[in-house]
Symmetry: C2
Subunit: 313 residues, 2 copies
């Protein structure tokens, strides 16, 4: 069945049933935790736990720019649309809670595919207790796009920003880098955001954090810029994904790992706590050379680290 057959209200009814995490978390009321009003009113109404701050991230995926339906299934697209937002919330050390999903749909879109898209979001969101509480469904003339705002909570003292790195802090990264670069593989289509890792890193006393979605070089440059510092990376310490070249590990992007800094004395405990998850490893240290990123190469030479990444415009 095509979208134009059931119209917007018909679609909203079907989508309501797919809203992730709702049924499983609050039983008969059909709402997620803290959701006083969800889909179906002018706005969602949400209750924050006492003493917590609200964290809000928004990320958009556009057909032919960020994804291509020739190799993304609609399930993959739902998964990834939420994953990129979860990764941003994780990079703050926060708990994801509520999603507002705005989607622009060409008239030709099949209703079963929209349901698959929501199933993809649900499969991932269910892991982390995320409820879809609102959004907007509109017609789009040619291309499909998805714009999600994800809301989360964090204790003020646990919040980790991009700024905050100190001279001498170690730089660490979770997992391995460069593996999503070739595209059309599972790491690219269904990335696992490092939500649990983000909380552990924040609890462990990280001084700054960012996700690696734009590639290690650009992400680290952003972190250093926000902190007013520089960084020294060791080529031999960069955790490369299987078959990934150094260039891919440094600039590939789409990895959704976490890059963070912490005082030397904290690193061991964080690494131990992440042992059963996406393992963290030391890749360098923060310097006082504001805005300068240096790569210490295998041959002992140091060189300026090029900042490269996927360009949106």
């Amino acid at each position: 069945m095509e979208l134009s057959k059931i119209g917007e209200l018909g679609l909203i009814e079907r989508v309501k049933d797919q809203a992730c995490g709702e049924r499983s978390r609050a039983g008969a009321r059909g709402k997620g935790q803290g959701v006083l009003a969800g889909i179906g009113d002018d706005a969602a109404v949400l209750r924050l736990s006492k003493g917590k701050l609200l964290v809000a991230a928004a990320d958009t995926l556009v057909e032919k720019i960020h994804f291509d339906l020739s190799y993304y299934s609609y399930f993959d697209l739902g998964w990834k649309s939420l994953a990129v937002n979860l990764s941003d919330i994780a990079a703050m050390g926060a708990d994801p809670k509520w999603a507002l999903v705005s989607i622009g749909l060409p008239k030709r879109t099949k209703v079963k595919n929209i349901i698959r898209f929501y199933k993809g979001m649900k499969a991932l969101g269910g892991k982390y207790g995320v409820s879809i509480v609102g959004g907007d469904t509109v017609s789009s003339p040619n291309r499909l796009y998805v714009s999600i705002t994800l809301l989360g909570e964090v204790l003020r003292k646990r919040m980790v920003l991009r700024k905050g790195a100190k001279e001498g802090d170690l730089i660490l990264a979770t997992g391995s880098l460069g593996g999503a670069f070739p595209g059309r593989n599972i790491k690219h289509l269904r990335p696992e955001p490092r939500v649990r890792e983000g909380r552990i890193i924040a609890n462990g006393g990280a001084t700054s954090m960012i996700d690696s979605s734009d590639g290690l070089s650009r992400s680290l440059a952003e972190l250093c810029k926000a902190s007013g510092k520089g960084g020294l990376l060791f080529e031999g310490l960069i955790p490369r994904a299987k078959k990934a070249s150094l260039k891919e590990a440094l600039h590939g992007g789409e990895d959704y790992e976490l890059v963070f800094t912490c005082p030397k004395r904290r690193a061991g405990a964080i690494i131990r706590k992440l042992a059963g998850l996406s393992k963290a490893s030391v890749i360098g240290r923060i310097t006082n050379n504001r805005g300068r990123l240096v790569l210490s190469c295998a041959d002992g030479k140091e060189k300026e680290l090029e900042i490269r990444s996927f360009k949106h415009f």
Copy 2:
């Protein structure tokens, strides 16, 4: 200058300067009230006042579907994109606070026009203390679109949902209806969301509320459906905009007035308090005929009210 010349980072720098309400509300810190981290980190971090609930609305405008740049200026588009979201927050009786603005931009878009778009948002957002705290800027292959998530706060006891109307409650509407229907007029291009009115109505003891953006007939049908009630409207009481026909007032849409219900004893005080703003007037009453909307005509006859409105798909 075209967008492709300055790239995403260049755009974000320019957009930061336009983020509405920031400078004016918090001076040197350059952030809005309650904004601990705004544009430039993975997510915004926001502090809620104690004892308040979070309210979140998301609305999207797509070029050639919701607007046409042949008669919308970019300033109008910024204004309207925020207005439609403010109207949803107003319809909950809530205070708007923070906006996340996601925008899909064709490469040909001129940078000065993007700045104008943000100026339009700022002109309206500044009236209500709204800060732009995040969002996403992406490339869009052909058409421009804007997707805004607007966050607000409300005291639990002041929150007004679509559900809650009781039998015998009066139905009221602010302002006049049908005036935005012809399009290409100022009411269509730069609607004034009824934010102050929404708070007064909520404080005055309204039992349910919705905005009239989809037209009076559809908006009232939604309110009655959510409340499990019916409604009786009096043709002679519908406040028609100048030159608007009854049909346009009933089904035209794009008006962004508020439609609400309250017990008879509360109506007078609410109407008096709205006297200096968008005036409210009684247009009907809530009945126990679940799902049935009836129009009492000038000739004394009653007839079923047709539900019609703008169709998205």
